[in-house]
């Protein structure tokens, strides 16, 4: 065999997870793991072998090499001649004792000041160390320590309560409690709006699920293969203004902003860590990994999935809408708006129409959350939502972090039920 290139990807994780049930830490889970992949490239073919935990590198290499006989197609070259390390692990370091103490303090504050709320879910402190290296002088290493939150509020007097999803590189009980209590105070108040209003709707978006909902149209129509095959709604629109001038959509590999690895599953990095898909309303390019980019002569957008088990696939993440630079209060300019806390999962149709039930939302005046709203539905069309009706992404967020994006657009709102 000629010209065999060996590439390895290793994923090391060290996790402490606290499971919370009804404001109490019910479980403490610790794990430390390594997942490892060997890729072998030769003559536009690839072989992959993976392992978890203990492994024999030579055995994995032999297995990956044997899979070249299956002629698994991979018509792109491995990344070459780049060495870079991004180490954000110093931004957050804590002991298990601190994690438990801080969480217990915040839960006690909730229990004392908002006894009608019970929180359940988990808080996870995760250390990651990801390395991609190959025989073509590539060595990419990303280290990070983050704390992930997934908490549901169960309210004693209502069926649906808010939830809190976030990722940060810092943790103290007062900030944490402060974020949680914003909604606790307002949840008790029942607010009303007029049926059929057109008003600003504030979407709180966290990856990966919401990418397929609010960004679902882009997820589908900006896919490089869809575009290359002539099936995308953007096919004849390169360089054209399709959305509002204040709307720009991009992939960010700035680990400080996106909490994502600075390289994708193929080792592709980006100049300035960004690639624009839509810039000031003008459609620029679809998203693609190496194979699709080469096949259809598209820009390489660092959009290949990074996992230990399979070939990199085209992936629409991590994606952001460019900030307006203005605060939420400035963007809303006195208008009352709806914070969409939990939607019912509606998707875009092929023609771009979007409609979703809203299970839980709050009325917001730009400074304060006024109260919770009855069950609603919201509807619009993608070209209006990100066109004439697009209000923007604020520089501040409702929860104060960067992981959960806040996107504001005007939509038609209908009342479909009572307060839950």
């Amino acid at each position: 065999m000629s010209n065999i290139v060996k590439e390895t990807v290793s994923f090391k994780t060290d996790m402490t997870k606290l499971c919370v049930e009804n404001n109490e830490i019910s479980k403490i889970i610790k794990s430390k793991d390594e997942k490892y992949t060997v890729r072998v490239y030769s003559d536009k073919k690839i072989g992959i072998a993976s392992a978890i935990g203990k492994y024999d590198k030579n055995e994995l290499f032999r297995k990956a090499k044997s899979l070249l006989d299956y002629n698994i197609s991979y018509r792109a070259e491995p990344t070459e001649n780049i060495t870079k390390t991004v180490d954000l692990s110093d931004s957050l370091n804590m002991t298990d004792e601190y994690l438990i103490k801080t969480t217990s303090e915040a839960m006690n504050l909730i229990g004392k000041n908002h006894p009608e709320f019970l929180l359940s879910g988990h808080i996870k402190f995760l250390k990651t160390d990801t390395v991609l290296k190959n025989d073509r002088n590539t060595l990419l290493n990303y280290l990070d320590n983050t704390i992930d939150f997934y908490l549901e509020y169960k309210c004693k007097y209502s069926k649906d309560g808010p939830f809190y999803v976030d990722r940060k590189r810092g943790y103290n009980s007062h900030d944490f409690y402060g974020n949680l209590s914003k909604f606790c105070d307002s949840h008790a108040v029942k607010s009303e709006i007029e049926d059929g209003s057109v008003m600003p709707v504030i979407f709180l978006i966290y990856p990966p699920l919401a990418f397929r909902r609010l960004f679902g149209f882009f997820y589908r129509e900006l896919d490089g293969e869809e575009y290359g095959e002539g099936m995308s709604a953007f096919c004849s629109k390169k360089g054209q203004k399709v959305f509002g001038e204040n709307f720009s959509l991009y992939v960010s590999r700035d680990s400080g902003e996106s909490y994502a690895c600075f390289f994708d599953g193929e080792g592709t990095t980006l100049e300035n860590d960004r690639h624009m898909f839509v810039e000031n309303g003008i459609f620029k390019s679809p998203y693609s990994g190496k194979v699709i980019a080469k096949k259809y002569k598209l820009p390489l957008t660092s959009s290949a999935s990074l996992n230990y088990k399979s070939l990199p696939r085209t992936e629409f993440s991590p994606v952001f809408v460019k900030s307006s630079g203005k605060t939420l209060e400035d963007l809303l300019d006195g208008r009352k708006s709806i914070i969409m806390m939990e939607d019912g999962g509606g998707l875009f149709t092929s023609k771009g129409h979007y409609s979703t039930p809203v299970i839980l939302s709050y009325l917001y005046d730009g400074e304060k959350i006024l109260g919770r709203l009855p069950q609603l539905s919201v509807s619009s069309n993608v070209f209006d939502m990100f066109g004439k009706d697009f209000i923007g992404v604020p520089s501040n967020t409702v929860f104060g972090g960067t992981y959960m994006q806040t996107v504001v657009t005007k939509m038609k709102v209908n009342i479909t039920g009572t307060h839950t």
Binding site: D33, A51, M231, K309, T349
Partner: protein
């Protein structure tokens, strides 16, 4: 005992020995061909107040992990009196179902050849721009041991094949798919190939002729595949008892209350998937609704202790890396004594929507389904395909508005998400049902 357990505590060990395969052909080229074997374990120790857990990928580390975790606990000489401890039963059993027909015994090359043969179905259709044919399998041999004396060995297996395709014609395009699942390897794929061809025609018709629906309230008929999502999303998640450990959520949950028509039964049956759950408790068929009456809920040891009920074998973890939580297994609408066909349900509908299959569903007090292929019914006939963003209703109202049930039954596999455990293998399905007054947009 396989391990040495600390005194005055409860300890269990769940080991998973996994084999899995993944093959994809895309436009005549093999894009993925991979098989993998690994083992891992999840260890739990309970002191009566809190669980201390760890996952390990080296199973020779299990004993040292037990020893380390136990140092974090508060020993409890009265652990045997604890309610949760009492719900964790020391079953001893060996149920190996897949020794002869184990997918790990089938050569990778043979599986790749099967997928190549399957790909002749989309390849011959000139309207298809792109296609992928795939095959996945997973075999898991589970071992479970506990300080109470549990000693279990059982296995689970599932296989999945099919095709994703993209069609275009007359400047319109659509993406569709066909999947076939089984607990055993596919030795004869002629029927699968025929079904792929039929499904391509369904999507072609939809692509060329679908029009947007006028939003409003409609009678909706859920075909057998869509009915499974109704059972899973509308009601299954609601019956997971960890959601019911909230006073407000329990207000509507009164066992014995009539919540739907006579003849509607929704069952969750773990025996279809595995004999024991991931806490070592036996799985069972649990009636969530029986003949219109609210009859049961799904438990793990924790919720069973909270509600003073027995565990139902619904403690499941996605992989060895995760803790078991209350999850569904195979959740379906039982056809019961219905003697009506789906065709009759449609013929008896003046105006409505027929949902053949769906993209996704989810639920809270309102549940929402996003249909994929659906049709408008007028005067008892399916007359045209329609574009629908969402179909939704309040769960309790939807159950009371079930007006009829047909007797065709299909069980379909899928993957369920809950908190950070997304992708758990489940089954859903059932008899077709007709539901009045659903919000369609």
């Amino acid at each position: 005992m396989k391990y040495t357990y600390p005194e005055d505590l409860y300890t269990d060990v769940r080991i998973e020995n996994v084999f899995e395969t993944s093959i994809t052909y895309s436009m005549d080229e093999i894009k993925e061909c991979n098989e993998m074997s690994y083992s891992g374990a999840f260890i739990r120790i309970y002191d009566g107040k809190r669980w201390y857990c760890s996952s390990v990928s080296d199973i020779s580390d299990i004993q040292s992990k037990i020893d380390t975790l136990s140092k974090l606990t508060d020993k409890n000489p009265k652990i045997a009196e604890n309610k949760i401890y009492g719900k964790l039963l020391p079953h001893k059993d060996k149920c190996i179902v897949y020794s002869e027909n184990n997918v790990s015994k089938i050569d990778l090359a043979e599986k790749a050849k099967m997928v190549l043969e399957l790909s002749s179905a989309p390849k011959q259709n000139k309207l298809i721009n792109s296609w992928d044919c795939f095959y996945r399998d997973k075999y898991v041999l589970k071992e479970f041991y506990s300080s109470k004396g549990a000693d279990l060995n059982f296995d689970i297996q599932y296989c999945d094949t099919g095709c994703w395709f993209a069609l275009s014609e007359m400047k319109k395009n659509i993406r569709g798919s066909y999947r076939k699942q089984s607990k055993e390897y596919f030795t004869d794929i002629s029927e699968i190939k025929k079904s792929i061809e039929e499904e391509i025609n369904v999507y072609r018709d939809f692509m060329l002729n679908a029009e947007p629906i006028k939003p409003g309230k409609y009678t909706v008929i859920f075909g057998p595949y869509a009915a499974g999502t109704f059972a899973h999303e509308c009601f299954g998640h609601k019956s997971e008892s960890d959601y019911l450990m909230n006073e407000e959520a329990r207000k509507n949950w009164v066992l014995g209350k009539k919540i739907s028509i006579d003849g509607l039964s929704i069952i969750d049956n773990g025996e279809i998937i595995m004999p024991y759950d991931d806490e070592g408790n036996k799985t069972q068929a649990t009636y969530l609704i029986k003949n219109g009456i609210l009859s049961g809920q799904l438990h793990n040891s924790n919720s069973a202790a909270f509600f003073d009920m027995e565990p139902t074998g619904n403690a499941r973890a996605m992989t060895y890396e995760f803790e078991p939580i209350v999850r569904m297994t195979a959740t379906y609408i039982d056809a019961g004594n219905s003697n009506k066909t789906l065709k009759q349900l449609i013929e008896e509908t003046d105006e409505g929507i027929f949902i053949e299959n769906i993209y996704q569903g989810n639920s809270s007090t309102t549940f929402t389904i996003t249909p994929r292929i659906c049709y408008y019914i007028n005067d008892g006939k399916i007359c045209k395909p329609i574009l629908v963003s969402s179909v939704s209703a309040n769960i309790w109202e939807a159950l009371m508005n079930v007006s009829d049930i047909a007797n065709e039954f299909v069980l379909n596999d899928g993957y369920c998400g809950k908190i950070d455990q997304s992708g758990l293998y489940t089954l859903s399905g059932g008899a077709s049902i007709k539901v009045k007054e659903m919000g369609v947009r």
